[in-house]
């Protein structure tokens, strides 16, 4: 008895000493991390981002496009839906920067309104789909077992039903407004994010520091915010970078086919489809919305690549 007690106390002593060391180490490393963060990561990322001239140029282009879309209609007071028979199919001029269409509507204001829709889709639909997909993926990975299996089947079913069908049905049920469109696009694009998140969390879950956190009785939300989310950042940024152009394309294509927004709403897709009618007589009516769309997506693509390279530690060393 006495012997074992001694041993126990020795063990306790050993453990507690080890814990002290651990704590000290942790404090040390935390201090390190905070120092690193202050002087390192953010600054390095920003300077890395700004050191690429092409990225910076396209960032400026993106800011200009966004600025024009927001400020343009405030300065130039044409109603995007005002029909004027005297102003049909005018070429670009000082009064009408991009000319007018076959109903005499000012194309500059209409393009700005369309851009606003595209930007709204780019931001709102992407946030909706990424947030939902990420939460869904984390739940799948953490729950495991039959829950995971069932949720995976749901993804498979979602992927195999043509997305046009889902979009059309949602638009029909919710009405042909912009809110319905935002939801419809988000709902058809969350599955990839969910799948990737699931795979990553499955990997992370088995790492030693997550096990350690679990053994220290860390609440689950804390493990998620402290360990899972930071590790998912690079995948999330990649996803966001891919989703934004995809969602802009989806809106333009759906509206072009007449399945998305309906007139009197305006979007780049609607402008392109109106321009298509006048393609041979007044080609600028087709080229203006097309060039704006391409510039917008190109800017998002290049800036997105730049942000990814700047934030990803894998690229940062180089």
């Amino acid at each position: 008895m006495a012997e074992s007690r001694i041993q126990q106390s020795e063990i306790f002593h050993f453990v507690s000493r080890n814990q002290h060391e651990l704590l000290a180490n942790q404090q040390h490393s935390q201090a390190n991390v905070s120092i690193h963060r202050k002087s390192g990561f953010g600054k390095t990322a920003i300077s890395k981002f700004l050191s690429e001239p092409i990225t910076v140029i396209w960032l400026i282009v993106l800011i200009l496009i966004v600025g024009a879309a927001i400020i343009g209609p405030l300065i130039i007071h044409y109603d995007p839906n005002h029909i004027d028979a005297a102003l049909q199919n005018q070429a670009p001029s000082f009064a009408h920067f991009f000319g007018t269409d076959k109903l005499g509507r000012d194309l500059f204001v209409r393009t700005c309104t369309g851009l606003q829709v595209s930007l709204l889709v780019a931001i709102v639909s992407t946030i909706l789909s990424i947030v939902f997909g990420t939460v869904y993926g984390v739940i799948m990975a953490v729950a495991g077992g039959w829950v995971d299996e069932v949720m995976m089947r749901i993804i498979e079913i979602f992927n195999s039903i043509p997305s046009l069908l889902i979009t059309m049905i949602l638009m029909a049920v919710l009405g042909n407004g912009i809110v319905a469109l935002l939801f419809a696009i988000a709902i058809t694009s969350w599955a990839d994010a969910a799948r990737q998140t699931r795979g990553l969390v499955m990997q992370l879950r088995n790492l030693d520091y997550v096990t350690a956190a679990k053994m220290l009785d860390t609440p689950f939300w804390r493990t998620t915010t402290r360990h899972f989310v930071p590790n998912m950042m690079s995948i999330l940024i990649l996803d966001i970078g891919q989703s934004i152009p995809d969602n802009i394309f989806a809106e333009a294509s759906l509206s072009f086919l007449g399945l998305g927004l309906q007139p009197p709403n305006t979007s780049l897709g609607i402008l392109i489809s109106v321009g298509q009618d006048q393609m041979l007589q007044h080609p600028y009516q087709l080229y203006v919305p097309i060039i704006v769309l391409i510039l917008l997506v190109l800017a998002f693509n290049i800036v997105g690549d730049g942000v990814r390279d700047a934030l990803d530690p894998k690229y940062q060393d180089k």
Binding site: I157, I169, L257, N301
Partner: protein
């Protein structure tokens, strides 16, 4: 292996059942149906008769049971909007156009993309690499819809080299009538170039950084033989596994290219059926597309194990 195939087949049937049910109820949830537009000016008596003829007067659950029962027996039923049109007929008439378009697009785009990817990886940081990077970024930023419209207005309209719309029919269905097919092929094929160039370049760069390539060089193999036997072979794994999905989607038609060039294919017909709320046709196409998609995924899984023996499926 046999056990796995059986298991996947059962899963396929369950998934298809769920997909068909989901589609049916979603379509039923939309206000209005295939006949409401045609019949709202008819007298009450006649409208009831029309509805009775098509079976749309029955309650939703009864229609659901009837539809499912027919589907189990392999019948998708007649179109409500255009009587006499069935799924079999649709596939016979519409699929060849879509399939030919898809095959031509892939034959044009995928090899070009692969060559560009290989060159970009081998000549990294050379002007070739930069050219491929810029080109694929540019192509990625232009949707096939826009490429189609631009090609149409320039080569079809301004220069008048090619017909603007249309598609070869009759005995030219599979071969001939090339002038009609060139613009749609370019419009859709360009998307494959960017995708496959980027995919192959990234996977080749991954392989280039791995240890066994260093070993191969250390053994004294020539640069050519390392590239051919070690790098390209390994780098093609992601390409081979994404090919089946490309093919499955390619031959079943692209809605946008088909609607710009007015090609009588499956994609355009699907959109029409959807706008008309033609439940039997929409259901039929959805179930067939879903089946094709799931089977393709299964083939991809098998391909993985064949190409890369390190990957094992369903270890017991």
């Amino acid at each position: 292996m046999l056990k796995m195939i059986l298991r996947r087949a059962v899963e396929l049937l369950i998934s298809l059942f769920l997909i068909a049910s989901a589609t049916f109820f979603l379509l039923a949830a939309i206000p209005g149906d295939a006949l409401s537009a045609q019949t709202n000016r008819l007298p009450e008596q006649a409208r009831k008769q029309v509805y009775k003829n098509s079976g749309l007067n029955k309650p939703v659950m009864t229609r659901y049971v009837i539809t499912m029962d027919n589907m189990v027996h392999g019948k998708f039923g007649e179109s409500i909007v255009t009587p006499g049109q069935t799924m079999t007929k649709v596939l016979k008439e519409k699929l060849p156009a879509s399939a030919r378009l898809g095959i031509q697009q892939m034959l044009f785009g995928i090899p070009l993309g692969l060559i560009m990817g290989v060159l970009a990886a081998i000549y990294k940081n050379h002007w070739i690499d930069r050219f491929v990077t810029v080109l694929s970024l540019l192509l990625m930023s232009v949707p096939s819809l826009v490429i189609g419209l631009l090609l149409q207005s320039y080569f079809g309209g301004k220069l008048g080299w090619f017909p603007i719309i249309g598609w070869p029919e009759g005995n030219q269905l599979w071969w001939g009538g090339w002038s009609y097919t060139i613009l749609p092929t370019l419009a859709g094929g360009i998307g494959y170039i960017a995708g496959y160039a980027r995919l192959l370049k990234n996977s080749m760069l991954d392989v280039l950084g791995s240890d066994y390539i260093q070993t191969a060089y250390a053994k004294g193999l020539s640069g050519r033989s390392v590239i051919l036997h070690h790098i390209i072979r390994n780098a093609f794994i992601p390409v081979t596994t994404s090919l089946p999905v490309s093919i499955a989607f390619g031959i079943t038609g692209s809605v946008f290219v088909e609607s710009i060039f007015v090609i009588p294919g499956v994609g355009q017909f699907f959109v029409q059926a959807l706008t008309n709320r033609d439940v039997p046709i929409v259901l039929g196409e959805t179930v067939l597309l879903a089946a094709l998609y799931i089977v393709t995924l299964f083939i991809t899984d098998i391909l993985y194990t064949v190409i890369d023996p390190r990957i094992k499926l369903y270890e017991s």
